[in-house]
Symmetry: C2
Subunit: 204 residues, 2 copies
């Protein structure tokens, strides 16, 4: 056997084994249910990955709800893009009034968080939705603007097929405990550190 034939043969054998392993793995998973998904960590991509999931869901002709607990100071490109093509599949509520250091008013922040959660509960009861994104709810939970146990009780009682995504840094341990799928976005390197500004299309 020539050396390169040997390499190719060994590669094929290794990959055949891996494929058998993968196929067995996939076959062993049989449960289908709505997932409780958490995107947390101090890195980028928590909300962005949630918007990617929204896009995927829309491509499957699902109906999707979004409640933004913290409304950024910017009108986001994502929302503009989604509203261009999918208004009939999408219910979007931007409820927060800005970051907490923008309002500088604790009571107003609490009231905004409660109003957003009330809106989220209305969407949780909507039988047409397949995916609900509670964007930056972790911030409201972290500062105890909302009670975690009360929120979890409502989420646990939701329809079986409904997927819910909760985003924001500092997800509480009790939320991670209750979730099915948790990803931490970890900051490895950020351009702000070398003086690069927040740019349209990347940061917002």
């Amino acid at each position: 056997m020539l050396p390169e034939q040997d390499t190719a043969a060994r590669h094929r054998l290794k990959m055949q084994k891996r494929k058998a392993h993968q196929d067995a793995e996939v076959a062993s998973k049989t449960i289908e249910k709505g997932l409780l998904i958490v995107h947390t960590g101090s890195g980028k991509g928590k909300s962005t990955a949630a918007f990617g999931l929204i896009l995927r869901a829309l491509g499957h002709d699902w109906r999707v709800g979004v409640v933004q607990f913290i409304k950024g100071v910017w009108d986001t490109g994502e929302r503009r893009a989604l509203e261009r093509g999918f208004t009939d599949q999408l219910v979007w509520h931007a409820m927060g009034e800005g970051f907490t250091w923008e309002t500088q008013d604790l009571e107003r922040d609490k009231a905004a968080a409660e109003a957003a959660w009330a809106q989220a509960q209305r969407l949780l009861a909507d039988p047409n939705l397949s995916l609900l994104v509670l964007d930056e709810i972790n911030i409201a939970l972290r500062y105890d603007y909302l009670d975690l146990e009360a929120v979890l009780a409502v989420l646990r009682a939701r329809r079986e097929g409904l997927h819910v995504v909760l985003t924001g840094r500092n997800a509480k341990p009790g939320l991670i405990e209750a979730a099915d799928l948790v990803t931490e976005m970890t900051l490895v390197k950020h351009p702000f550190k070398s003086g690069v500004k927040a740019q349209a299309g990347i940061e917002f």
Copy 2:
């Protein structure tokens, strides 16, 4: 002063300080340039966050290119959704032939990676693009189907304003070194572990 007034006043002061700090931070960042962005790690959300960035970019009326180095076995919801509303802003090439354990053919995998990179280079030369996503290119780099130094030389020579996103686990140290923005998606908890299968709309 009543205790609740005291709390509100302290909160306001703390948030005023934080806002001053934030404003100074923002004002100190003045550089605008196309970023080299890497999404890596074994967690979910690497490609999904890239698709979220595509969505944001489309919302800003940018033109976007996508080269998929590993074509999944599924027709993704993201692509279907994006092609519904944005065909004129989007150039999409699904080049890979599947996962390496699907083809079981080293030479075919290498040829597919090289063809995808040739396509990526054509898009890098397109003056109309503002964002280029090289999805799962890290896999091709990891297995040395592509030479990292050759890829980095081409990326460094790109137009100044062009943002490039590279996704896939096991990003090479040299790529992280060269990048402006690196996020590691870390797996904290995955539903596969409790027997839940890959579900349409969530995994693909």
